[in-house]
């Protein structure tokens, strides 16, 4: 007989929708490794935006998005604060990029299971390697992130 109140046998996938591997209904994900360009050029904010979209496309579980957000927001605040404390202006861009790179490593690690599972269980091995190009999106997100980071920098400047 079933064990009463067995937490292990409680449904957890009730909201799952079938994947579209062909890309005809759903957009294919971006390669998680390609997020590094956004992270370097646009810093943690660009990485946050790109990684959250990619997490959605990869069907990563909800906890993944929260982990990504926590890492990226912490790195964003740290980058702007460090750049201000060091009195960097032009060099501040570099600090933002370095913190983007720092955030990239755990962010990519968070996305790895969803990426591997998508590939492992693709109905066809050809479809397991279907990814969309991230180039154009990265350019847009990087410009947006730079703008926001400059604004954030100005606000932190007022506070410090």
């Amino acid at each position: 007989m079933p064990r009463t109140g067995d937490a292990l046998l409680t449904p957890t996938l009730t909201d799952h929708r079938p994947r579209d591997y062909t890309g005809s209904i759903e957009r294919p994900p971006w390669r998680t490794g390609s997020l590094v360009y956004g992270a370097i050029l646009g810093g943690p904010l660009a990485l946050l935006i790109l990684a959250l979209f990619d997490a959605g496309r990869l069907r990563a579980p909800a906890g993944t998005a929260q982990r990504i957000a926590a890492v990226c927001v912490a790195c964003l605040v740290a980058s702007v604060t460090v750049a201000r404390l060091l009195g960097l202006d032009a060099g501040g861009r570099l600090v933002v990029g370095l913190f983007g790179l720092l955030a990239f490593v755990p962010v990519r690690r968070s996305l790895l299971p969803a990426d591997r599972i998508r590939a492992m269980y693709a109905p066809d091995d050809d479809e397991a390697v279907v990814y969309e190009s991230i180039f154009a999106v990265t350019v847009g997100v990087v410009f947006f992130s730079l703008l926001v980071t400059v604004l954030l920098d100005a606000i932190v400047g007022e506070v410090l």
């Binding site: 007989m1 079933p2 064990r3 067995d6 292990l8 046998l9 449904p11 957890t12 996938l13 009730t14 909201d15 799952h16 079938p18 994947r19 490794g33 390609s34 590094v36 360009y37 370097i40 069907r59 990563a60 579980p61 370095l98 790179l101 990239f104 490593v105 990519r108 690690r109 790895l112 299971p113 969803a114 591997r116 599972i117 492992m120 269980y121 693709a122 109905p123 066809d124 091995d125 050809d126 479809e127 397991a128 390697v129 190009s133 180039f135």
Partner: protein, 289 residues
Amino acid sequence: MSTSSADAGALELARHYLLVDQPQSALDALAARQLDLDDPEVWAVRGWALLDLDRHEDAADTAREALGRWPDDVDFLRLLAVAEAQRDRLAEAEDAILAALAVEPDEPDLLATYADVLTRGVQLDEAGAVLDRAAEVAPDSTVVLRLRLNLAYASGHDDEARALAHELLQHDADDYQGHVMLGALDLDKLKLGDARERIGTAVRQDPASLRGTTQQLRLLGNPLMWPMWPIQRFGPGPVWVAAVATIFGLGAAGLGTAQAVAVVVWLVFCVYSWTVPALVERRLEREDW
């Protein structure tokens, strides 16, 4: 109505074909005679044969029809769960397998199927806990071992996955999944020779399989892709860290010219890494046509 001896023979033949991995012959054997539809074995053989032929929707329909006759039959619930999981209809798969587990909560094959459904749904902690329970009941089960391997690989625990794949190959040296996993792990580590051998062994068993992986092997083996190997081997993050550290290290050491050269080399590499892999991939695709 009892099954006639000829019908029993046809069913036995179909069961045999299913066991020797000839599902179409199994279906043909079933279709050759008017079999007794009150015999659950007829439905089971038909359902699993359809599943083996990758006719997942038909397999699910067969399981549902059979469940209309035998509502709590654990085998049909499991067949339905597996067929729906193959279609990525994980909510339906989970419903079916939980209904089966409500009848037999400690059946290792059912627990393993549920762990597979959870892994597909990226519920890795839950899948691990279910597999732990399955392993308590059946510590030597290769089904549980296979799913542990999938779970370890999905979780990024590559060393554990490698050890489990070797364990699987100790049970059966030709195990398809063991070779595929080791091939994928070797590919990640850029051991192209080993990966080619492993994937080749798997493809010989199933020539229609692994086209994407084989293509990736060809891509990485192309000389134009050699500059990309550090990224493939160590990942883009560590390579970027190394490049930035080198550039700044040269600057800090007062080697301005070397630093400028390093910056230019790095920028060229960045452009290369964005453009050349796509071009090589396109070229390989054209060659295939």
